[in-house]
Amino acid sequence: MLTRRSLLLSAPAPLLAGRAKLGPKRRVDRALRGEDVDRIPFTFWHHFGLEKSPAIRHAQATLDFHRKFRTDLVKVMSDYPYPKPPSKWPELRVEDNPFPEQIQALEIIRDGLAGNAYFLETVFNPWNVAEKLSSKEGVLRLKAENPQALLEALEVIAESEARHAKKAVATGAAGIFLAIANAQDGILSEADYAKFSEPFDRMILQAVNTAPLNTLHLHGDKVYLQRFFKGWPAAAINYSAIRLASASLKSAGNTPNCFWRDLMK
């Protein structure tokens, strides 16, 4: 059920002068509702490369980054690996807590933020996890040779990640940031995305469908965007507006973009 919807975009909004300074949560809440804000809320993130480090280091790096750059929303990276198959790919079993270190990190981050900003847990979709457990080529090969086996493996991963998502929200996360990189031309056809990925992506979001800030991250420049506009239990969509629309932005007479890379040139 979609109750609140907005787009996390790489594009600017008019800044309003003369307003009292808002805190990060109120700024985000108001933007999501389409209300005036003192300035556009922002966030950014990166991979800290701490997937082999304990939760405390990952959490501390995340909090330090947030404090240093005063982000309005803390998007927590999740680089801890999904557990290796007990036998061999694609024979998997449902994991009740596939990312225990990450859950610990979320608890530390929650305590560190002390309620001052929302935080979101990153979840890479089952197709992406399958690629990490096998390889890009291996997943495509299995799709061609034994699609049922792939579907079964993806369902197991989705169930495990749904459990993780619930645990993340239980720690206090405002939602999950579901990273979808395969809903685009050149990776999967739209029909293949609909068959081999969408049901499992939905399973995860459905598990936390009451979280207020679930976000769909649609990675790439040939995304099947229209597919995601209705019927997903997500409050926001994040995608690269510059890649998809910067030429039109220019022709429309607006600032081309606020995609941070280009601002820094």
């Binding site: 975009l9 594009a11 909004a13 922002f42 950014f44 750059f69 998809l244 910067s246 030429a247 039109s248």
Partner: protein, 52 residues
């Protein structure tokens, strides 16, 4: 830039979809994670631009 491969109509449609639909409902964010070699100074410039 990949957007150059799209037709003007595709771009226009995507622009309308992306920006006109949400109106004020915007949160500034990159399309993906920022490179790890990004300098603090570069980040601070962004904050300055948006008035943060």
């Amino acid at each position: 830039m990949n957007f150059r491969k799209l037709s003007p109509d595709d771009l226009r449609n995507q622009w309308h979809t992306a920006v006109e639909q949400p109106g004020k409902r915007l949160i500034l964010a990159p399309g993906c994670s920022i490179p790890n070699d990004t300098a603090d100074l570069e980040m601070q410039r962004l904050l300055k631009v948006i008035g943060a």
